[in-house]
Symmetry: C2
Subunit: 145 residues, 2 copies
């Protein structure tokens, strides 16, 4: 089975972080990477080099606050959402859902319409054959993310 290419992850880290922290009161960086890896069976992995600058940036933007807690003799930095962070989380999650919905619309062509159009063109001699297109699938039902 092909691995999921990481190219689609681009632009989603902010949303992923906001979402996870909207579900769980506070998390530390390493824990976030683990949560993502575990919940996707290792198919999506966040790199530290990307995650920590995102956390720092979100903090700078006032969306996160952090507190350092000593655990087992070393400091661990927990992040949690601010009020505006919580609002932003809701917004970003909504946007991503809609993005997926629109990608779905883009990726699916109403098959019946296409076949009907091709058939009409074929009958009227305007197309060489009605089989010059792949057969996309019917629209999937609305799905909540």
């Amino acid at each position: 089975m092909e691995p999921v290419s990481s190219e689609f992850l681009r632009g989603t880290l902010k949303t992923i972080v906001l979402k996870l922290l909207s579900e769980q009161d506070k998390m530390y960086g390493y824990q976030i990477t683990q949560a993502v890896k575990e919940r996707t069976h290792g198919e999506l992995t966040l790199t530290f080099g990307a995650l920590y600058p995102v956390l720092h940036k979100l903090e700078q933007e006032g969306l996160l606050i952090n507190e350092s807690i000593e655990v087992d003799g070393r400091l661990r930095k927990y992040y949690s959402l601010t009020d505006s962070g919580t609002q932003m989380a809701i917004q970003k999650i909504s946007e991503f859902e809609r993005f997926v919905d629109y990608m779905q619309q883009l990726f699916q062509t109403p098959q019946i319409w296409l076949m009907a159009i091709d058939l009409i063109l074929y009958v009227y001699g305007k197309a060489n054959s009605p089989t010059n297109r792949p057969y996309p699938q019917l629209p999937a039902p609305k799905r909540s993310l």
Copy 2:
């Protein structure tokens, strides 16, 4: 209603182009932008500055070929998939579908199960509080885009 942020489009242009050309034998650049805009009611727009370099790159990679056709007194560049382009289209679409599945998996927590488990542990005095818990693993639901 908030517009869909374009940040999620990052990394998807290649897949969008391959998908559209897998449905339709040949298209020109401007037509691709129009198709995306129309089929998503203007919510997703591809910029020319991004699209054309992607088309050129895909051609360079041997995934697309182009032919110039004169239409209304000017040249129009139609792109179509090569054989390896067709294979790549199938692969990329499959990857995107799986990406969405895993994002769904990541974004949805079986809250009822978690709350029930935490509550039981809490009642039996095995947990300090019903928060801060790792998440159980669920199989990703199969779904076609």
